[in-house]
């Protein structure tokens, strides 16, 4: 909008993905020298095997797991699909434990990432019953409803730890305990939580937990799945002995080594960053509240990711706001992504009871390690102008000359 000064660039979409940490970048460049296939017995292979196992150690320690409990996969989505698929894998003896060939079902929530919801829908097609537990207006699981659903024989529960759109954090420990009391296995999609919150699988007592490197300043294309020692398992991708036969395919060694470095850096930076982001979030929310009328914040007021702000602006469409902000050098996201072929308002906001009209006027801003208070001041200033403009144009009429 301002064509005189060079536009400042502010990236506020850390929940979508993060820039690679400079230290991780160095590690990747160094690791590029090592090309051996980690399955090979010769020296180049052994070298890379060693680097991968070192990374596995770091990644496991980061969530208080043992290295054997971690398998590396291609993405958070693959980790989630792997777990959901356990419920209907007829080829495998272990799946008996997770419910196939029985009348048990899966429970998941209405606000999960599409990779969980669609994997669950696919299980439904295969004859597995799927129940969806609802959430309250802040996006918290409805405990009574959950308790009721658990009463029916349940094989597996999959509930995300922190929501990508509204940032709401669930009490996973409690949800997990309740599932175990009814004999169900518990999985949590912790893609948005790991690296932002302290995650300790021993304390949570989860059976499965998914996370991803590119959300924590690592590269894209590598995720990890924690499988509690002794928990039922069946490979999703078959045909190789890699990852102890649990995930076939030559390891993404560069990605895995980088993942190890990424968690190492998270360990150093996370606590301080949490405080900083919490302050920035207050600053951003206060700025919006003070300068822009008719707004509503979505998500939980306290139990929410430090860097995530989801806000609805009445009388403005999210897509238009996004476009205007992008023109001004600010990158945010909306729930309704037309380019992906859907006009539907965000299923997460709808699940929290936000009316469709307000869902369409919502944007998500997610901050991270490079976000500064100057950025936030700039965003508030720009956003104020953009919302005013967007609201104006939807009410203005361009002259008509009737006879």
């Amino acid at each position: 909008m301002n064509n005189k000064t060079k536009t400042r660039k502010v990236y506020l979409d850390y929940n979508a993905t993060t820039p690679i940490h400079p230290e991780v970048k160095k590690t990747i460049i160094e690791a590029m020298e090592f090309y051996g296939n980690p399955s090979s017995l010769h020296e180049p292979g052994r070298k890379v095997r060693g680097m991968i196992e070192e990374a596995r150690g770091k990644v496991a320690a980061f969530i208080n797991a043992t290295p054997e409990e971690i398998i590396f996969v291609g993405s958070g989505s693959e980790a989630n699909n792997t777990v959901i698929n356990l419920s209907s894998c007829p080829a495998c003896g272990t799946c008996e434990a997770s419910g196939c060939k029985t009348d048990k079902k899966i429970i998941t929530s209405t606000i999960e990432h599409p990779c969980v919801l669609e994997a669950a829908a696919c299980q439904k097609e295969r004859g597995i019953r799927v129940s969806y537990v609802g959430v309250d207006k802040f996006g918290k699981i409805k405990i009574d409803e959950y308790q009721k659903l658990l009463k029916e024989k349940t094989a597996l529960v999959s509930i995300m730890m922190a929501n990508n759109e509204i940032g709401t954090i669930q009490d996973i420990k409690k949800l997990c305990q309740m599932a175990h009391e009814q004999g169900a296995l518990f999985h949590t999609d912790a893609v948005q939580a790991v690296g932002k919150l302290e995650v300790d699988v021993k304390e949570l007592e989860a059976d499965y937990l998914s996370f991803s490197a590119h959300k924590i300043y690592g590269p894209k294309g590598v995720g990890a799945l924690y499988i509690r020692k002794g928990a039922a398992f069946c490979p999703f991708i078959r045909g190789g002995h890699q990852e102890k036969g649990r995930r076939a395919g030559t390891e993404n060694s560069l990605g895995i080594i980088a993942f190890g470095k990424a968690v190492e850096m998270r360990k150093k930076e996370m606590a301080a960053e949490f405080k900083r982001l919490s302050a920035l979030k207050s600053l951003l929310k206060a700025g919006i509240e003070k300068n822009i009328p008719d707004i509503q914040f979505n998500g939980h007021p306290q139990d929410s990711l430090a860097g995530t702000v989801n806000v609805s602006f009445s009388g403005a469409e999210g897509e238009t706001i996004l476009l205007y902000l992008d023109m001004g050098g600010i990158a945010v996201s909306t729930g309704s992504a037309c380019a992906s072929g859907s006009l539907d308002p965000s299923h997460v906001l709808m699940a929290t009871g936000v009316p469709a009209e307000r869902c369409h006027g919502s944007i998500r801003m997610s901050m991270g390690r490079d976000t500064t208070d100057k950025d936030i001041d700039y965003v508030v200033e720009k956003l104020t102008k953009v919302i005013k403009r967007v609201r104006e144009i939807s009410s203005v009429s361009i002259g008509v000359n009737h006879g």
């Binding site: 909008m1 064509n3 469409e317 897509e319 238009t320 476009l323 205007y324 992008d326 023109m327 309704s336 037309c338 380019a339 072929g341 859907s342 006009l343 403009r389 967007v390 104006e392 144009i393 939807s394 203005v396 361009i398 002259g399 008509v400 000359n401 009737h402 006879g403």
Partner: protein, 358 residues
């Protein structure tokens, strides 16, 4: 010409060859160009139709934008299309009229909602790949026919007012379709051989099937009569017929019959011989004048459907309406369609045909 470097233009990119070339030309002329694809969230027709607005169209537009090095966005206008164009389309048919949804979409969506968004974004202009020209004469902007008379789309654009025209660019107005394809190849655009879209974009199959599902339970079979009132047969429901239609009437009476009139009050069709479809006088309502409002009876050239030959007529303003009288009778004047008034190549007004008088 000299200060285009500072001018910003949004190009509505459908992913087709026309709007892609329009964007390329503007970029070459020195404008700061951003591309925007309107997403209408239409059913992804397995038949390969419609040829625009789908996920493939968005991907094509993005590829072209990448090649040109311009920003590209997608905005969703699905609900607006439904509310302002599709609903009206269905309603008009149910009343026995033959609407023109492209005229409405241009007036209410492309050159209203989208134009507002472009201007709000600080754009100086909105551009499309339409075949038409805009010329400024004596301080007024006029919409004129395209140089390529076979492709001319001015009929669909006549509802543009001064305020809109001065903010629009139609870079293809001086070009032929062949030339546009040639340019697409020169610019190495991957859409250079893409087929033209012809159909109504929100209708996946035939319009009869579409109306049948949209109007479920709201149409009834009725009588087909000749002009003397004699019953010749029955029809499926008036939404499925249009003036001048000859096929699918299911009547054999020794000579070809045409729909002359759709009588929605009585749920009747009146049919007759071809010469009976020739009429010369009709009433036009909901008139738009892009420049000066017509005050007195004037001889103009009038076109009553897209790419039909225009014909000489008297246009006489009567209150907010106009009475049009062709010099010679013309085939199938159809209520619901637009009548566009031209003076030479320039559009001077137009409206919706309300009623055929004689």
């Amino acid at each position: 010409m000299s200060n285009k470097k500072n001018k910003k233009v949004m190009v509505a990119m459908s992913g087709g060859v026309d709007s892609s070339v329009a964007a390329a030309l503007l970029k070459d002329q020195g404008y700061e160009v951003i591309g925007l694809t309107m997403c209408f969230n239409l059913p992804d027709a397995k038949t390969g139709k419609p040829a625009c607005c789908g996920v493939q169209a968005i991907a094509d537009a993005k590829r072209v934008a990448d090649i040109l090095g311009i920003r590209h966005y997608v905005l969703n206008f699905g609900q607006e299309l439904q509310k302002k164009v599709v609903a009206d389309f269905v309603k008009q048919y149910s009343l026995g009229l033959t609407p023109n949804p492209c005229v409405r979409c241009n007036e209410l969506i492309k050159f209203d909602s989208l134009l507002k968004k472009a201007l709000g974004l600080g754009m100086d202009y909105l551009a499309t790949g339409h075949y038409a020209r805009i010329e400024k004469t004596a301080g007024k902007y006029f919409l004129k026919k395209a140089k390529d008379k076979k492709k001319d789309q001015s009929y669909f654009l006549y509802r543009l007012t001064q305020e809109k025209l001065k903010r629009l660019l139609f870079p293809l107005g001086e070009l032929t379709k062949d030339k546009v394809r040639q340019l697409a190849r020169i610019y190495k655009l991957p859409v250079s051989e893409k087929q033209d879209s012809q159909e109504i974009c929100f209708i996946p199959g035939t319009y009869q099937e579409f109306l049948k599902s949209e109007l479920k339970g709201k149409f009834f079979p009725g009588l087909i009569k000749d002009t003397s009132g004699k019953v010749l047969g029955t029809h499926q429901g008036i939404p499925f017929y249009t003036i001048g239609q000859r096929d699918k009437l299911g009547i054999a009476c020794g000579y070809p019959v045409y729909v002359l009139k759709i009588n929605s009050n009585k749920n009747e069709l009146v049919v007759g011989k071809k010469e009976e479809t020739l009429k010369s006088k009709f009433l036009v309502q909901d008139i738009i004048y892009p420049g000066a409002v017509l005050k007195k009876k004037t001889r103009l050239m009038v076109r009553i459907r897209h790419l039909s030959p225009q014909a000489s007529a008297w246009v006489k303003p009567i209150g907010k309406k106009s009475e049009v009288t062709f010099k010679k009778p013309v085939f199938a004047i159809t209520p619901g369609q637009s009548a566009v008034f031209y003076k030479k190549d320039a559009v001077v007004g137009g409206g919706i045909i309300e009623e055929v008088l004689q």
